[in-house]
């Protein structure tokens, strides 16, 4: 016993290091659980508060740019409204599935593999987890955590984010992911090879998950990469088929990997809209 105590006293640096390391690693792996703790919400809101106040300064210099982008968006919306007024009767407007709220980006990070944004609205303004966030030009991300006044958004530039998307011209569905390399490109997986996709096709949201409504612009196809080129080779063998029991034949359907250029400029986010789906509870009930 004495020897053990002596050993611990001699190596107390290592012991303290290991204890603290285990503590920090549990923080890493249980981060979803610890997010809810009150201490963290309090300390996080201090960080958010200071960033918000610092951002007022930054925002002042970009007022001109924000103003012109808002004007542009206004123009597009006005044109759309004109079309609706002419073509469709008012009945269709009563059938609302989604509502929008505005919010402002406080902090935006691009440098990590799991980027998050902070927006200045929270539970008090009616935001909840898994609401979509868009910009006037395209998608931005999905809310993954809310506190009283702020909420954190999982950006599309996050290797965990998966968004349902489709090709506008051919309506083939796929999953949109980020490969961690460049901030203006995403990767669209699971599009079958038979789909006749060309460079320049526009990609829109699929509307399968009720996070985003169908038809929000995401980006444009910039490159098509064939995924399964190696397994494409035909295997021929001569001889008795009984001896070749170890041969495994795999006839996969080939999927395309498509590189998509984002419409949204993720460097430069100011005003965003949060989408709330009104039929979400009903949808989840039937999905179970």
């Amino acid at each position: 016993m004495q020897q053990i105590i002596d050993f611990i006293i001699r190596k107390k640096d290592v012991v303290v290091y290991l204890i603290l390391l285990i503590f920090s690693l549990t923080l890493v792996f249980n981060s979803n659980y610890f997010h809810k703790s009150k201490v963290l919400i309090f300390s996080n809101s201090i960080a958010n508060y200071s960033t918000e106040n610092f951002n007022y300064l930054n925002e002042y210099f970009e007022l001109k740019k924000i103003n012109s982008s808002l004007l542009e968006e206004n123009l597009v919306l006005k044109n759309q409204l004109e079309k609706i007024n002419k073509n469709i009767s008012l009945d269709s407007l009563t059938n609302i599935n989604f509502t929008f709220r505005n919010a402002k980006v406080i902090s935006n990070n691009l440098s990590s593999f799991k980027n998050h944004l902070i927006i200045n609205k929270g539970v008090r303004h009616g935001l909840k987890n898994e609401m979509g966030v868009i910009n006037s030009t395209g998608i931005v991300g999905i809310i993954n955590r809310t506190s009283k006044n702020y909420s954190s958004v999982m950006s599309v530039l996050n290797i965990d984010t998966k968004i349902n998307a489709k090709v506008k011209r051919t309506s083939h569905f796929g999953t949109l992911e980020w490969n961690g390399r460049r901030t203006s490109y995403l990767v669209l997986n699971d599009i079958p090879e038979t789909a006749n996709i060309k460079v320049g096709d526009s990609i829109i949201t699929g509307g399968m998950s009720l996070i985003f409504p169908e038809g929000i612009n995401i980006g444009v196809v910039s490159e098509i990469i064939n995924q399964n080129k190696i397994s494409d080779t035909v295997v021929r063998f001569k001889g008795n088929i009984n001896e070749a029991n170890y041969l495994d034949f795999e006839f996969k359907e080939n999927y395309l990997t498509v590189k998509v250029k984002l419409h949204t400029d993720m460097n430069n986010l100011n005003n965003v809209y949060v989408i709330e789906s009104l039929n979400r509870k009903e949808f989840q009930k039937i999905k179970k």
């Binding site: 902090s107 990070n109 902070i118």
Partner: protein
């Protein structure tokens, strides 16, 4: 001894704020940020007890985590290099390194050779970035990406940290 802790608190607040508010939004080539906060651990007084040092850098990493909206990643990385720093100092400076901390930071900068300074700062930065990025993704799928990102970010951090330290020793008495 009190003045040392005052100095540490001053540097703590200054470096957390400067990293969280300015350098996290630096976005060099879109995805590379310099980690200036490592100056805190590189220039931490040698005089202070190692256990105290580790606990302070644990809290330092936690404060950085609040600004980057992650949990535990910066904490683990900062804690690990705080633990490894005495070994690195011993390895790089050899007999010149005194664990009792009579020498000032200025002495280290003036009396050591360029390669010693370079090796000390770059090894701390490389280890920190490697731990940080591999904990962040935590998958073998991105291993080539992690290595590329570690190297590029280390070069940027090295330039910024070296500049910072040279500015700091101008003001040291």
């Amino acid at each position: 001894m009190v003045s040392i802790y005052l100095l540490i608190i001053k540097r703590f607040i200054f470096l957390v704020l400067i990293q969280g508010l300015i350098f996290n939004n630096f976005d060099f080539f879109d995805i590379y940020d310099p980690y200036v906060c490592l100056v805190f651990i590189i220039t931490f007084p040698v005089k202070v007890n190692k256990i105290t040092f580790m606990i302070i850098s644990f809290v330092f990493g936690f404060a950085l985590d609040l600004y980057t909206n992650t949990l535990g990643i910066n904490t683990a990385a900062c804690l690990s290099i705080a633990f490894l720093r005495s070994y690195i100092l011993n390895f790089v400076f050899g007999s010149f390194y005194d664990p009792h901390g009579i020498k000032l930071m200025k002495n280290y900068v003036i009396e050591s050779t360029f390669s010693q300074k370079f090796l000390y700062i770059s090894s701390i930065i490389l280890i920190h970035h490697l731990i940080l990025f591999s904990l962040e993704t935590f998958s073998f799928e991105f291993i080539s990406l992690i290595i590329i990102k570690t190297i590029i970010t280390s070069i940027i951090s090295l330039i910024f940290c070296a500049t910072f330290i040279y500015i700091m020793i101008e003001n040291e008495k």
